[in-house]
């Protein structure tokens, strides 16, 4: 049974992705679960697994093409099955690179060069095609219709949006993202010029976008970690290695609980509205060789600590090995960045849009503290929250931090 594989949705905010590399060509056998392509999203480059087995019958998008979520990319079918790619995907088998597509039979309704006009001079288009064109600022007359009587239908607008040359005069394509401002540096013979990796260029773009658009506020709080460290020791003694909790797991759990209490921090700024996310999914920033990835814990507020720990470990490992799975990086609603292992006492982090905040966590340190007029040894952790001031205010962020502090200082809260 032929299966049209669409551009997957890899996060709640993902609208489109770019087909970076086809790992299977037309005619290749594919097993269920095998990697068939690399997809680049706003957040990362991920490997796409086949969810059915069979043979690749055709690709309908080229490498390097941005594809809206849900739009067809390729067709997988039984080896002997004859498949009409055009009928299934509404698109001619394409994929000019790297291997030319097998000579496809001419599609029965070849796209007309321009939309057919009814005898009245009206352009025939289905209501949904009209709406899509209107929303994208397209002139229907420029879109070839493949429906009955040359009617412009949904697939035609989709194809046009994907293939339209950026300079097409009438096609007011969505405004290009502002490129990070670059102040050119002089390059001398001793200098090395390293092309940006995909991940690096994504990070560059997104970090610049965040600092340029988000009016962020920064608040720091100090937490007494003595009880949390003691509890962690006790709990871990009872758990197998794969379920042992790290300090960061404790922080992530505390953040998850606090987010449920402060929905404005578990939100996104939507221009004229605020989107408060129903799920609390705390992302964990992970340093990887080519940059930075965020792996995501799901329903962090309700998930038991040991389970959280057991889930984070393999995700972090996959991220470091470059084998991240789509599910690992999708759906984050708030991020925790921890540089404690590098003995960093305290730092600030940049908000990862469209999230409303990020918590930068330093190292747990033994420090002298004053208690009842005496200097005694204490265990302290500093954390700094950066928050989007369009979404929340200082006092609310302060209370949010207090809530995290309370959970960590009375750590039984993390277990119940």
């Amino acid at each position: 049974m032929a299966e049209v594989v669409p551009m997957p949705k890899l996060g709640f905010d993902m609208k489109e992705g770019t087909l970076v590399r086809k790992l299977k060509q037309v005619g290749d056998a594919v097993a269920k679960g095998e990697i068939i392509a690399e997809i680049e999203t706003d957040k990362a480059t991920v490997e796409l697994e086949a969810y059915v087995g069979g043979v690749v019958k055709g690709w309908v998008v080229d490498e390097g093409t941005p594809v809206p979520v849900g739009s067809p990319m390729l067709v997988i079918a039984e080896p002997n099955e004859s498949v009409d790619i055009q009928a299934l995907t509404g698109r001619a088998p394409g994929g000019a690179n790297p291997s030319p597509a097998p000579a496809a039979a001419p599609a029965p309704a070849a796209p007309a060069a321009t939309a057919a006009a009814a005898p009245t001079g009206q352009i025939l288009a289905s209501p949904v095609a009209r709406k899509m064109a209107r929303d994208a600022g397209l002139d229907l007359a420029q879109i070839g219709g493949t429906g009955p009587n040359g009617r412009v239908v949904k697939r035609d607008v989709e194809a046009f949006l994907q293939n339209a040359p950026p300079a097409a005069p009438a096609a007011a394509a969505p405004a290009p993202r502002p490129a990070p401002a670059v102040i050119p540096a002089a390059v001398t013979a001793e200098d090395e010029v390293v092309p940006l990796t995909k991940l690096r260029s994504i990070i560059a773009r997104r970090m610049a976008e965040s600092t340029q658009t988000v009016p962020a506020i920064y608040l720091t709080i100090e937490v007494d970690m003595a009880a949390a460290m003691a509890l962690r020791k006790q709990v871990n003694a009872l758990l197998p290695d794969e379920r042992k909790a790290s300090v960061n797991d404790l922080v992530v759990k505390a953040v998850g609980l606090a987010l449920r209490q402060f929905p404005n921090l578990n939100a996104s700024f939507g221009g004229d509205k605020l989107i408060r996310h129903g799920h609390v999914n705390v992302g964990v920033a992970v340093a990887v060789p080519s940059g930075l990835l965020t792996v995501v814990t799901k329903d962090t507020d309700v998930k038991p600590l040991a389970q959280l720990a057991a889930e984070v470990k393999p995700m972090v490992a996959r991220a470091r090995e470059g084998k991240v799975q789509p599910a690992d990086i999708e759906g984050s609603t708030f991020t925790v960045s921890n540089l404690g292992m590098y003995d960093i006492e305290h730092f600030t982090a940049i908000i990862s849009l469209p999230e409303a905040g990020i918590l930068a966590v330093g190292a747990v340190k033994e420090v002298p503290v004053v208690r009842e007029g005496q200097i005694v040894p204490g265990t302290r952790l500093k954390m700094t929250c950066a928050a989007d001031h369009r979404v929340t205010d200082g006092a609310e962020v302060a209370q949010f931090l207090q809530s995290i502090k309370k959970a960590l200082e009375e750590p039984l809260r993390l277990l119940v």
Partner: protein
């Protein structure tokens, strides 16, 4: 869960409700001693006795008339009209009385009545015994009209119909009584009236059907899937209240729809569903909505003529391809 035919699941639903509620009574032609012309009331007389399971004269007007009066005065009758073609003889009682005694008297009276009947063609019974006309009853506010497509739905919906305080036309399909399926044993297994049900998921075309047309649509969907075309098949289950939310939701993904009904298309269920789609989802329409229905003729006797007039799997396949 037991595997039962629709006829058996109906008999089980009635028996369970009679057991649960002593005010539930059964009346109709041949329902008691003979156990129903389709066996759907089989065994009830022995179990519940003559006072609660009553054969009637062949008098459709008084079958429903007495049932409405009794319903107003404290009973919960399940009246059987042997065929929906004969329900025309009780049409006044159903639409002028059952549907109206609650509202017309300002809510004083209730009419917890179920009229069970059998609809549909395909058995070479000629023009007057083969009509599919449940949608006529669904025209009337005040009535509920339920049309199950599986044994489990038949049981859950009939039990809900018997328990509701409103009058329900419960329309079974003559060619479906022997259809088998798993039926929950739970004595409180209820399916709420007025909820459509997605019987198959798919993302290319939304196929809307009810009663035996669900089976035909599912067969068409299986066939189409061989060509990579995935149909979402939605079973309306009740024609009034009509729950189109799942249809709208599906259509917003597929942008294409086919409505399958056994009756004639003019003024029919397909007309209603298509209009509501155009009203509610205009900006999602990518192709004209297709109707698959009976040819606009009184149904003939000869088997080949009857087949040619009734909607077949191939008609659904053709209609789905036409909207793609």
């Amino acid at each position: 869960m037991a595997v039962l035919t629709i006829a058996k699941s109906i008999a089980q639903a009635i028996a369970e409700e009679m057991e649960r509620d002593p005010s539930v009574v059964v009346l109709g032609e041949e329902v008691a001693a003979a156990g129903g012309t389709y066996g759907a009331t089989s065994g009830l007389l022995d179990r519940f006795g003559e006072a609660r399971v009553k054969d009637t004269p062949i008098s459709e007007g008084i079958i429903v008339g007495a049932a409405v009066g009794a319903a107003m005065n404290g009973l919960r009758p399940v009246a059987e009209i042997m065929g929906i073609n004969f329900a025309f003889l009780a049409m006044d009682m159903i639409v002028n009385h059952a549907a109206k005694v609650h509202s017309m008297f300002g809510g004083q009276f209730r009419c917890p009545l179920v009229v069970r009947t059998t609809s549909g063609g395909g058995r070479q019974l000629g023009a007057t015994h083969s009509q599919t006309v449940e949608h006529l009853f669904a025209h009337f506010p005040g009535l509920k009209v339920v049309c199950p497509s599986t044994p489990a739905d038949a049981k859950g919906l009939l039990k809900a119909a018997i328990r509701t305080d409103d009058p329900v036309m419960f329309v079974e399909q003559a060619t479906m009584y022997s259809l088998r399926g798993e039926v929950p044993d739970d004595k409180d297994f209820l399916i709420p009236i007025g909820k459509s049900d997605v019987k198959r998921r798919g993302r290319h075309v939304t196929v809307v059907a009810y009663s035996n047309m669900v089976e035909i649509s599912l067969k068409a969907a299986t066939e189409l899937a061989k060509d990579g075309i995935e149909c979402e098949v939605i079973d309306l289950r009740s024609l009034r209240p009509l729950d189109l939310d799942p249809v709208f939701e599906s259509f917003k993904q597929t942008n294409r729809a086919v409505v399958v009904e056994e009756s004639w298309p003019t003024y029919g269920v397909g007309a209603e569903v298509a209009t509501r789609l155009y009203e509610e989802c205009f900006d999602y329409v990518d192709a004209p909505i297709q109707r698959v229905a009976q040819k606009e003729v009184p149904l003939p006797y000869a088997a080949n003529l009857e087949r040619a007039a009734l909607p077949q799997v191939a008609d659904v396949v053709r209609a789905v391809k036409a909207v793609l």
